[in-house]
């Protein structure tokens, strides 16, 4: 049963006012401050990733034209404002790298695992607050290392975010050496940060749940962050190992992946994707969990089929380990393995479908309030469905022969990672912003940002399916070189303009985020009338979170419960007459 471990770290004492500014906000051991630090760092990462995408889109939309303002880029990147192919390859690589490792992953895990876990399970802080502080301050140099690749001789890594060897393993093939080495070192350093974080999240959830917070009383956000932390702990060391082997091939003359010395290029792909596919679920599970919380709140109803949702999360987490080969159907891997991986991959559709139908079930006969977070959560469901369904095409190995390495894949990943994860993140940031900063984000600007993002997002990414079906390869610098792609060029131009509009729209979010921090309306303790424990403490919560540890009496989503008059029943609210929720009967 849930137990409450006594916090041993002195940092958990609720005497925040005694701490100096530096200890309180810079080298803080408070999980809330660390969450906010990750938020600021990864929003910068999101901006960098987006900016790189804009440069790429210019080249694809207007291939031979100098970029307006491109003159500020050095000769080694874009002489006369026209991007060089080698710089384009760095953009391809770094857009993916920043979005995956320095934006979506830290936003989901660094920010929300840190911020939400103690607050939602009723703990005063993480199990290991100093380890937690270290995990943030290790992520910062990783970020700096990755950015610095742009300023070294030879430019930044240019072998794609997947860094397929031997292209990545021998500088002769790309002209990039220091950049690729920085990529490896940065990911190893960042990996250490993720491992420390994951250890902390698992320990905290297992040991520090408040009295009454049984496993099946945990919100789905916590369940998904828990499974994600397990995936992280097991998957990241594999990436670190692979990156170190790649680094050795480049610098020490080893031949893990270089055929002239007996190395195997496919070994890199196996190891990378053995990490890479669990990583895909690291990038979506927390989004699914938080969306479940927001949809229940927005629909004023308990999550439909809560236990199925938990089992679906666990199933996705497990299946994620046995599907990596679907990235390699055309790689030269034994085709017999192709069949195996096709079957396991197709089965991922089942838990995904369970989750989708349960979200719809949650809205069914609800009382839907169209708050900004709720709109983003609904967009998540709508877009995730597209990303999930387009995944069925490439799961079928014969169909994948044609669409592999085309824009169809680009469309698919963006429907999952942007349409899925990022919409969920916009929802989650808006939803928990009042708790983090004690102020509300402007709803009016929130609606404007939501609708414009939704429209421009679909204008940007939906047509990419068509490009892929037309045979448009990924990662090519100039599609107009191919006669058969020339009829598709107007689509490329349309996508580029849409992407610029999409990027510009994010300015609304940035301004809303910053201005609300100082000028937003003061938030009450529970502005969304939610049922979670985090809403029982002031906004923002004090160091230590609660004066007195809360006790949990109810399941996580007791909205519109017949036990009470109001439409929400706090998890920690003790009823006069002890009553058991239907959920636990």
């Amino acid at each position: 049963m849930a137990t409450m471990a006594a916090p041993l770290e002195p940092a958990s004492e609720p005497h925040a006012h005694e701490l100096s500014f530096v200890k309180r906000y810079i080298f803080s051991t408070d999980h809330k401050i660390i969450g906010i630090q990750f938020l600021l760092l990864s929003l910068v990462g999101l901006f960098v990733g987006g900016l790189l995408a804009m440069l790429m889109r210019w080249q694809l939309g207007f291939p031979t034209e100098p970029m307006p303002g491109g003159g500020i880029l050095p000769e080694t990147m874009a002489p006369g404002g026209i991007l060089l192919p080698e710089f384009y390859n760095s953009l391809v690589t770094m857009h993916g790298t920043f979005m995956v490792f320095f934006a979506i992953m830290p936003l989901l895990v660094g920010v929300f695992a840190n911020y939400l876990i103690p607050l939602k399970i009723g703990a005063p802080d993480m199990a290991f607050p100093r380890l937690n502080m270290a995990s943030f301050w290790i992520a910062v140099p990783a970020f700096v290392l990755m950015v610095s690749g742009f300023f070294v001789e030879g430019g930044n890594a240019g072998a794609g975010w997947t860094s397929y060897a031997p292209l990545s393993a021998n500088p002769e093939y790309t002209g990039v050496s220091a950049g690729q080495q920085l990529w490896c070192v940065s990911l190893v350093v960042l990996g250490l940060s993720s491992i420390l974080g994951a250890t902390n999240y698992i320990t905290t959830i297992v040991n520090m749940r408040a009295p009454g917070m049984q496993w099946f009383r945990m919100p789905l956000s916590i369940w998904s962050l828990f499974i994600t932390a397990i995936l992280t702990l097991l998957a990241i060391p594999i990436l670190s190992g692979a990156a170190i082997m790649l680094l050795f091939d480049q610098t020490l003359g080893t031949h893990f992946f270089l055929p002239p010395g007996g190395g195997q290029p496919l070994l890199w792909q196996h190891v990378f994707w053995f990490f890479g596919h669990p990583e895909v679920y690291i990038l979506i599970l927390p989004a699914m969990g938080m969306v479940s919380d927001i949809i229940a709140n927005g629909s004023r109803k308990p999550v439909f089929g809560y236990k199925s949702m938990v089992y679906a999360i666990i199933a996705i987490g497990f299946l994620g380990w046995i599907v990596w080969g679907h990235h390699m159907f055309q790689s030269g891997m034994n085709p017999l393995l192709g069949t195996t991986f096709m079957v396991s991959t197709l089965f991922i559709a089942v838990p995904s479908a369970i989750k989708t139908f349960n979200w719809l079930g949650t809205m069914w006969r609800g009382s839907v309030h169209f708050t900004v977070p709720m709109l983003h959560a609904c967009a998540f469901v709508a877009m995730f469905v597209i990303g999930g369904l387009s995944g069925v095409f490439m799961a079928s190995a014969p169909v994948d022969i044609y669409i592999h390495d085309t824009y169809f894949i680009v469309a698919h990943i963006h429907y999952v990672l942007f349409g899925g994860s990022l919409f969920a993140l916009f929802g989650a940031i808006t939803f928990w912003y009042p708790k983090m900063f004690g102020r509300m984000m402007s709803a009016r600007w929130g609606y404007a940002h939501f609708f414009l993002t939704f429209i421009f997002y679909n204008m940007t990414f939906f047509p990419m399916h068509g490009l892929g079906v037309g045979g448009h390869m990924r990662r090519i610098y100039d599609p107009t070189q191919y006669e058969f792609l020339q009829p598709l060029q107007p689509i490329n131009t349309f996508i580029t303009i849409s992407a610029f509009l999409l990027f510009a729209t994010q300015l609304i979010f940035a301004v809303n985020f910053i201005v609300s921090w100082f000028r937003g309306a003061k938030a009450s303790a529970n502005p969304w009338n939610d049922t979670g424990l985090e809403w029982t403490t002031p906004s923002p919560p004090p160091h230590g979170n609660w004066e007195e540890t809360p006790t949990v009496y109810h399941p996580p989503y007791e909205f519109s419960s017949p036990l009470v008059e109001e439409d929400s029943l706090m998890q920690s609210q003790r009823l006069e007459q002890p009553a058991v929720s239907q959920a636990e009967r």
Binding site: G332, M363, V385, A397, P398, V399, D405, G471
Partner: protein, 224 residues
């Protein structure tokens, strides 16, 4: 933009396309059901004063249905795809009478080697062309792919053929073109700074013309 595949001109293009369109239908129907349901619920159950949400925790029958139905559908897709995959890439997939050709990829070109008059490689009578693969129509062809440097990918969209070319490996891929003409050959795997320029042509020649061309080439080699 279009969801229709460009015309396929190989014997198995139609089979691949059929599974593609089947999946397009299935996912299309699922898409409309889910998105329509989502929009319908959002409108129908929007918050209105005086109405409380209906408190319910779920329904086991519904859970079983929406677990079982997708499972049956994906098993069906898996069985169909598995059969075709085996037919294309299985152990005995390459037809015995396929004409052998060797394609060596390097940054950023395709070098096509023909076995010469004896039909064997490494016998000294081979000849090589760059960035153009000539094959006869209605004849199975097996291409042995090798790379001299990095991973490339041999992609002929019109044939529905894509196979990575991996240094240190010799990978066989086969196809049979059904319509004479010139078709683009591309590199589909990021292979370096000139990746975008790594294009070529597959010329599918009428059988007579192919034989004539081949004889000419073999004679040139023999005369040398």
């Amino acid at each position: 933009m279009s969801w229709l595949l460009p015309p396929g001109v190989s014997t198995f293009a139609g089979d691949i396309d059929r599974i593609y369109y089947l999946i397009l239908w299935i996912t299309g129907v699922a898409f409309f059901i889910v998105e329509a349901g989502l929009i319908w619920f959002l409108i129908k159950y929007r918050a209105r004063p005086g109405r409380k949400a209906h408190y319910t925790l779920g329904n086991n029958v519904a859970e079983v249905v929406w677990t079982a139905v997708p499972a049956v559908v994906v098993i069906m897709i898996g069985v169909l795809s598995g059969g075709l995959w085996n037919q294309l890439r299985g152990r005995d997939a390459i037809p015995d009478d396929a004409i052998p050709v060797e394609v060596r990829a390097r940054q950023f070109e395709w070098n096509v080697t023909y076995p010469g008059s004896d039909g064997e490689f490494d016998t000294g009578d081979e000849f090589t062309t760059r960035n153009r693969l000539r094959i006869p129509v209605n004849t199975p062809v097996v291409v042995y792919l090798e790379s001299e440097d990095v991973i490339h990918s041999f992609f002929v969209p019109a044939f529905r053929v894509k196979q990575d070319v991996v240094p240190g490996m010799r990978i066989a891929v086969w196809f049979e073109a059904t319509v004479a003409g010139d078709y683009p050959l591309e590199c589909a795997e990021l292979c370096g700074n000139g990746h975008t320029t790594m294009g070529g042509t597959v010329s599918v020649l009428p059988q007579e013309e192919y034989r004539r061309w081949l004889t000419e080439q073999n004679q040139t080699i023999a005369a040398r």
